[in-house]
Structures are given as C-alpha cells and as structure tokens.
C-alpha cells in the first residue's frame, strides 16, 4: 500500500486507457463515433500476444496489433462514411465482430505461457527527482514513455497544425471544409484508421506490457468502454484525457493493493478480512466511469461546450438546398 507504487503502477496501467482514449478523440473529432474500441483493443491484445508467441518478437507483435486494429476499423469507416449507416449500431457491430474474431483466433492462446515483453527501463537523470522520478520515470515500459510524448504531440497537432485545423473543421462543419476542397471522406477514413491503430496499440500494451497474457474477454475487461466514456469527460482534449487515464489507472491499482495489508491507517482492513467485499471494489472503476460522465456532462451543459457538432452524422454532399 505504498502510494508511490500505486501511482507508478497507475501510470503504467493508465497508458492503456490513454492510447485508446486519444485514438477515439481523433476519430470523434473527425465526426465519426466508433463504439468498437473494446473489440479493437481485444483484437490488438490477441494479435500482439499471438504474434509474439509465434515469433518471439514483441515489436512485431506490436506492429501487427496496430495494423489489425486499424484495418478492422475500416469496416466501421466504410459502413458509416460511405453507406451512411447509424454510427452507434455500426460501432457496436464492429465491436461484436472484432470480439468474435479475437475469440476465434485466440483459441488456446491462454495456455501459451510466458513470452518476451516490451522492454522496461528507468530514465537516467529524471528518475532521481523525488516523487516524480519514481512515479513517472522508473522501471516503466517503453510504451509508457511513448505515452508521455503522445499527449503533447496530440494536443499540438489538433490545435496548432494545418491538418489539425482540417480535422476540427470536418468534425464541426464538414460542408464548409468540403467547399474549400478538403476531402472529407478520405480524412474521416484516415482518422478512424488512426483510432483503430491506437486501440490496437492499447490492446497490445495490455498483453505485452501491463498484464501480459491472453484471458479472452477479460483481457480488456471493459477498458475500451471506459475509454469511450473518458473522451466525453476529456471534452475531446488529449491533455484532459491523460489526466483521466492516469487517474483511472491508479484507481485500478489501488483496488488490487487495498486487499493486501491487514490494516489501513491503523484500522482493521475490512477487505483483507472479508475478501468477498472485493467484488464491491471491482465495481469501482465502472461506477467511477459513470460519475466521471456525470461530471463531464454537467460541465458541458454549464460551459455550453459540446461534442464536435457533426459527430455521429454522415456527410452527404449535394443534399438539395445546400
């Protein structure tokens, strides 16, 4: 029950949510809601683990996971962009499909044993900083460090670059972007693909770094859905997404650790003496997601912020009366 260790592990496990959430932020900013995150993560986790078992090379596993997530996301992209289907149902369908494929191809994989994982290391100078050093820069997976770079990069990309500006435009008012020659369909396909790649990466982060192995649907255990919820809490902003992801990661770790010691703050630890109370602890991340959604939604109402205006609606050029 060392708070430093909980936070350190929280940052590590929050990296999963971070990748998935930022990926979904890109897709939603472009106007496409993708509810298949959970399935795509599962596919990523399965393919990363499976390839690593076969080849012994986790980097290859990582690459395949990202590709798999990206490729399967294109089904949703096609159905919702070109066929203009309801994005909610299409995303759910993608989730079912990806989950099913993962289960079929992951059959027997849970008995594969141990594999080589993504490398972990400490950052020389930074890890010496008190508190911050041990939490953020000590014995983390290379993927966690990649997460640190991703946060400012995603923020800068969205707010201060030309493609980021185009991204915001096609999610807010695609018709305007279209009249200026921006190819909306192509960009939306791209950002859905990017979202899929990131979900695949998030899945691979689980099976190759955070909680190595393949445990069927329990590999992701709803983290993909939590990520979709975090996007709303984050108001489509990568920095707020990072804050939410790491907090959730720490919460997950706290739930595991709180059942260990016999006393907490000098009091008898009820979770140690009644291990079944752990089921109530298990509910916490999900209950917390709902609470976070309430906070995010109330804030959105108060500040009159909102989702990208065109989120969830297909773009059709040439509707009469345009």
């Amino acid at each position: 029950m060392d708070p430093i260790i909980i936070l350190q592990a929280g940052v590590a496990s929050g990296t999963v949510l971070l990748f998935a959430t930022i990926g979904e932020i890109f897709a939603e900013r472009s106007g496409v809601l993708n509810l298949g995150v959970e399935g795509m993560m599962l596919l990523g986790a399965m393919s990363a683990f499976s390839i690593t078992v076969k080849t012994g090379n986790p980097w290859l596993g990582l690459l395949v996971a990202m590709l798999a997530g990206g490729l399967i996301s294109q089904i949703h992209a096609f159905i919702s962009i070109h066929l203009q289907a309801d994005q909610v149902v299409s995303g759910l369908a993608l989730g079912f499909l990806a989950t099913g494929i993962s289960l079929v191809l992951g059959e027997g994989l849970s008995k594969a044993g141990t594999v080589s994982l993504m490398p972990s290391f400490s950052i020389p100078v930074l890890s010496q900083i008190p508190i911050v050093g041990p939490i953020f820069f000590t014995r983390h997976s290379v993927l966690t460090y990649f997460g640190y770079l991703l946060i400012p990069a995603a923020w800068y990309y969205i707010n201060h670059t030309r493609p980021g500006m185009n991204l915001r435009a096609i999610g807010e008012f695609p018709a305007a972007a279209d009249t200026l020659g921006i190819n909306i369909y192509r960009l939306r396909y791209f950002y859905v693909f990017l979202g899929g790649v990131m979900a695949g990466l998030a899945g691979a982060t689980i099976s190759l770094a955070i909680a190595p192995g393949w445990f069927s649907e329990m590999t992701t255990a709803g983290q993909g859905w939590i990520a979709v919820g975090l996007v709303i809490f984050a108001q489509w902003d990568p920095i707020r997404a990072a804050f939410g992801s790491y907090t959730f990661g720490a919460l997950r770790r706290l739930i595991l650790d709180i059942q260990g010691p016999t006393t907490i703050l000098g009091l008898r630890n009820p979770f140690y003496y009644n291990p079944y109370w752990g089921f109530f602890l298990q509910m916490l991340p999900y209950a917390f997601t709902i609470i976070v959604l309430v906070i995010g939604s109330r804030e959105a109402i108060r500040k009159r912020l909102g989702a990208p205006a065109a989120l969830g609606t297909p773009y059709i050029r040439g509707e009469r009366g345009l």
């Binding site: 030309r162 185009n166 305007a176 200026l180 205006a309």
Partner: protein
Amino acid sequence: MDGRQEFESHSSEPPVVVEMRGIIKRFPGVLANDHVDFKLYQGEIHALLGENGAGKSTLMNILAGLYRPDAGEIYVKGKLVHFSSPRDAIKAGIGMIHQHFMLVPSQTVTENILLGLDQPRFILRLSEYHQKIAEFAERFGLKIDPKAKIWQLSVGEQQRVEILKMLYRGADILIMDEPTAVLAPQEIEALFITLRKMVSEGKSIIFISHKLHEVMEIADRVSVLSKGKVTASGVPAKGITRQELARLMVGREVLFRLDKKEQAPGDVVLQVEDLHAENDKGLPALRGVSLTVRAGEIVGLAGVAGNGQRELAQVITGLRKCTKGKILLNGEDITNQPVSYSIQRGLGHIPEDRTHVGTSPNLSITDNVIMKKYRQPPIARGMVIDMNQASQFAQQLVATYDIMVPTIRTPARLLSGGNLQKVILAREISGNPRLLVAVQPTRGLDVGAIEGIQRLLLTQREAGAAILLISEELEELISLSDRIYVIYEGKIMGEVTDGNIEVIGLMMTGTPMEQIRQGVQ
C-alpha cells in the same frame, strides 16, 4: 439563340470569363438544370434570377465544382474545364459565397480563411497570419478582427469573412448566392458598394437572387431561370421592366397585391411584457421585449436574422425559458409553462424549421397531424389512440387543405417543402388557435405555395385569430401585417403601422423610433 432574348453585343465587348454550355443536372425526380447556357463577362455584375427551386443554386454549385453536371461543358477564360472538386474551381479563380455561410463556428476568422489552402504547410503560426489577414482585409476596406471566433460575429461580419476568404484565394469570379437574404437594408447598401468596388477592380460577379428590386438596382445584366430552363439570358438590366422579369421568372403574371380585408382588431390575445431571455450560448438574446397582438390582426416582427426573433418565438411557445418578464395568453399567465400548457390554451406554432422541428420525418402523415391532438378525444380514448379517428382526421385535412400525398401512411420526409408546410399549417389551424406564432412560414417555397400559405394566414385573421408573423422577407411582412414591430439586438425599436420601408430599415439597423421621429421634426 433559339428564340431566347440575347444580349446585344457592344462594339467593344469585354472578354468572356465564364461560359457554360448545355448544362444538364438531374436529381432524383427532378430535372434541376435542363440544357442551360450561361455567359459571364469580365467586370460585370450578372444577376441570376429565378424563384426557389428554379435551379439557380444547382447551376452555380456546378460552376463552383461542388456538383458534377450530367452533361454540358464549362469554359473558364476560354479554356474547357472539368471540375472534380471545389478546389479545382478555386484554382480557376471561381469562388462561391453560399447562402448559408460555409464558416466553422468554433474556429477563428484566420483559421476559416486559411482552411483548405497550401500555406502555412504544417505549423499554423497563427499570430503571424492574424497580422497578414488583418492587413489583407484592410486593403479591401473590409474591417474584421482576425482573432474573433465566427460564432461571435454578426451575420454581416460573417459575410465579410466569406468574401475575404474568396479574395484571399485570388478569386476573380465571385458567385454570391442570395447574399442579401440575411442583411438589413442599410447593410445591403454597404454590400452593394463593396460589390461595385470589386467590379471596378476587374472582378466579375454572379449575383443569385429572387428579389426583383435588388436585381434591378445592382445588376448590369440579368439571366432568368424557370423550372430548370433559361427564360432570359444576359438581358441588360436597364432595358427590362420588373413586370417582364417577373413573368420570365414565374411564367405568368404575378399578383403583387394580396386581397386583405379591412377589419377592426378585437381583444388583446398575446401580451408580452419586458421579456428577457438568453440564447444557446448563454448570452442575452432578448432584452426587455414588450408587445401585444389582438384577435383578428396580423402583427409582423421585422429584423435582421439573429436579433432575437428565434428566441422570442421559442419563449412565447414555451420551448425556451425566459429569465425575466411575463407572457399573457388571453390574460392568463403562460410564462415558463410547459409547451403542452399553452397548446391546450389555443396556441398554434408554425416553427422556423419545418423538417427538424415541425414534423417527424419517418412517421406517417397521420402521425404527424395528430401531434397536438393525440391527448384529447376523439383521437384519444383513455390511454389508447383510436386509429380510425386519427386516419379520418388525417384524410379530412389532406382533402381540406389540398395536400398532395400518395396516401396518409406516407412518411413525412417524402413530401415536398410546400406540402410539408401545408401539413404543419393544417395541423396548427385545425385546432382553431387563438394565437398563431408563424416563423418564416414561406421561406424556401415556390411562388404558388407562398401564395397558398399567405392566403391561409389571411383566412385565419378573418376568423379572428391573433397572428404573430416573424419573417425576414420585408415585402411579405408589409403586405400581410396590420402592424409591424422591429427588433434589434433583442429590443423592440418601434412599431410601424403604415409599412414605411425606410423607417423599418432604419430601425432594423438599430435606430429607435424616437430618434427617427426627432430626425423628421
């Protein structure tokens, strides 16, 4: 050219910058452009006239690269072009300013102008470009704050951004789709000055409109489209009368006068006192509006779009809460009551947005007409809806109001705009409303449908209903209303009973009635 009126060539004819030949464009069920030819000369303002649905916007969307024609050729500055996207058209120097502005509300002026360009390549360097845009705007005498977000700007300012956006792209051929629809008379004057200035600098302008007097004022030449066909091509504006143009546009003589009976208004039905309300962004939209509407009179509310008309209609009909003030319907306080409360007390509402608010697209005509009656007998029998009664009611409305539908089971989305509006009007009128709030009831309809809707409103007036007519079409307001209030920035500037368009125009731009009177004296 085959019997159409053709522009007589001058001795020193300016170069042709755009020529469209034999353009055909079909939409499902409609031939929007039927072998259309069109010629634009350099340095002219060429008006493209036609009623709603005549195919003007379609033709220009083709020229702007947004649609591809089914057949036909386009020459720009003598060269045959095939536009596959608006980007191609912009490269050829053609910029279109759409009726509904194509601006991203959450982005700044600068971002909107830079959108879709090649420079800056990757990093935006906004402060540098704010400066550039400000200087560029200055050069054309179009003042604008480049750092402002679009949603913070007035409609007139947004139009300036649209013009700047095209000029910044080096467009020398500007297509303006109904640019005056959202402007006050004085703002229109300012726009016309800008347009004339641009033409004198060698730019060419296509001006789409369905307003005859504007066309007569601004255009050098006029082309008219009617039902997808050219009925006049490049006629000098000076050589043609308003009546002739109207005939070319509609294909028959148009009555400019409506038959409105003299009648004395009755008791006060709607009384609004010192009403305050906020808009969607939480900013004040109504700042102390007071007005009355009596039985048997049509009271118009004039104003430039976005001055609080929407919010006023919503507050009166219960769709928006007011922060202060009072609304009385037949003397009964309906302030901030639920919508159903005022419906039961005889409030009818023709909403601004007939497809998104007024009807339910995938439900049948029957389901759409019982929207306000399903709670009461005979259509309701306890908790159950009597489907026979509902269908009978629908049949009866379809017959009485001459609504063109295949069957009453047809979903509403398959109806034309005019028929959809009739469904709404029939539904609202059939409740014999004491008060009818009609917002833009004729917008986007063709001439025949407009006449029909206006007649229905006048019939209701004769039947003793109080009607609050909110419209941006000044001509319509003046011809239908007994009195007209003018709203500006959420305040009533004054009231006009004689339909004096100059006074209305002054108030629409923010001069209160008292000042106008003082000026006269």
